[in-house]
């Protein structure tokens, strides 16, 4: 074989991948030109080995074993079945929302309290002056208005003269009151006049003078009539002793003005 084989054959020969008895192998082994190529391959081999061959770290195997064990264990720890994971997330969200709701309500209450008890100096200066708070603002902020109480059967501002109740309106079926009067002798005639004004039939009015100091009044009338009667009594100078403030269940309800009510009043002589 005179002509040199191509480089692929020489390369395979260099790597020992060519049959040593083949004509190509025989040629290469005796050809000086092929020998040069083989020499260059050997140089490459040496350079690559020099660069890319390294000492294997002594603890490599142990290190790999340890790392794998650690990572497998870590993965086992964090691998939670999906439904359980979902459940945990849902529970966490629920707890978080409950806490959030609780905290927000606390903050809201706090804000309300703070607003109610805010001091004048903390209020916004609406006068535009240099730190001067208008007197009205000071008063409003400093003093809280006392709770407004509506005496039982006293006419609210919204009630009209016909006895029609526009708002509130709960009266029990039996009402007892104590009044102070300055003249017990004239009481029967005065009550008759007021009852007539309130549209109450004299037949349903029964007044008894017990002695010089007290008298009892029994009336059967409608709630609307009672409403007017009490208002008239107050305007005529009687002083209501009890009850001064309506109980929550005694709030007047609209539409009950025609309902019957038994009214019992005690009159006590009072002196100025």
């Amino acid at each position: 074989m005179k002509q040199c084989p191509d480089n692929e054959i020489i390369s395979a020969y260099y790597d020992g991948e060519l049959d040593g008895e083949s004509p190509e192998a025989l040629h290469i082994s005796s050809c000086p030109e092929c020998a040069k190529i083989l020499e260059s391959y050997a140089d490459m081999d040496k350079a690559l080995k020099n660069k890319f061959t390294c000492e294997i770290p002594a603890n490599l195997t142990e290190k790999v074993k340890k790392t794998i064990r650690r990572r497998i264990n870590a993965e086992k720890r964090i691998s939670i079945p999906f439904p359980v994971l979902l459940l945990r997330i849902a529970a966490s969200l629920f707890i978080a929302s409950v806490i959030l709701f609780y905290v927000s309500s606390l903050v809201k209450d706090r804000e309300t309290e703070t607003a109610a008890s805010s001091k004048p100096e903390t209020r916004k200066n609406v006068s535009g002056g240099l730190g001067i708070i208008p007197f009205e603002d000071y008063v409003k902020a400093s003093f809280r208005a006392p709770p407004v109480s509506t005496p039982l059967l006293t006419a609210p501002d919204t009630a009209n003269r016909t006895g029609k109740i526009e708002k509130s309106a709960v009266l029990p079926d039996k009402v007892s009151q104590v009044w102070v009067t300055r003249n017990i002798e004239k009481l029967p005639s005065l009550i008759s006049t007021l009852a007539a004004k309130a549209g109450i039939s004299p037949a349903n009015t029964n007044i008894t003078i017990n002695d010089g100091n007290t008298a009892n009044l029994d009336m059967k009338l409608s709630k609307g009539q009672l409403f007017n009667f009490v208002r008239l009594c107050k305007n005529s100078g009687f002083e209501l002793l009890s009850p001064q403030a309506p109980q929550p269940e005694q709030k007047v309800q609209q539409g009950t003005e025609n309902e019957d009510v038994n009214y019992n009043a005690s009159f006590v002589l009072g002196h100025n």
């Binding site: 480089n7 020489i10 790597d15 190529i37 080995k49 890319f52 490599l60 790999v64």
Partner: protein, 208 residues
Amino acid sequence: MDADNKKRDEELVKEFKAGNKEAFDDLIGRHAPKLYQASFGLLGNRQDAEEVVQDAFLRAYKGLENFRGDASFETWVCRIAINLSRNKYQWNKRRGAELNLSISEHRQSLEENSNEDMAIPDKAPAPDSVLEKAEAEKGIMEAFENLPETLRETMILRHINNMSYEKIAELQECKEGTVKSRIARGREILREYLINAGTDIKIRPLED
């Protein structure tokens, strides 16, 4: 010998599948050095090589239950390592720095080696020859880094891991003839590069 190794691997895989997880430790001991060498050859960086070996064995551990044994365990795990190295190489290449660093490290080591050689005048070759040799190797490395990835990988498996064409073909899932061509082509490119670069010190061009 290869057949014995293969048989022993098969036994260990069987033991592992039967529940003896310790068998995997033996598999690591048998193949980690080879994998490290191949990964280092492909990446040129010790830390990267170690990471690849760890990742490859971790994947093998997880996948061994489903390992059918179509290829040998060695080929299988080596293929995993090569794929991981390939990905890492691409990643490093995109980042740029690592590869350059590895080359510069190599250059530095070459220079250090040359200096050491020069420090012993009576035993070492003449300084000129040492420098020439270092220069030639440097040229080969530059050319090698510029090789197409497949050729580079094939040459590493052949030159560094001393794998047969058959084994490389198995790993790269190609024909032996393809491996043969790749290696020859890689060598030719390196030779041409060195000739054109004028670093033809020991590597001479073909004379027609």
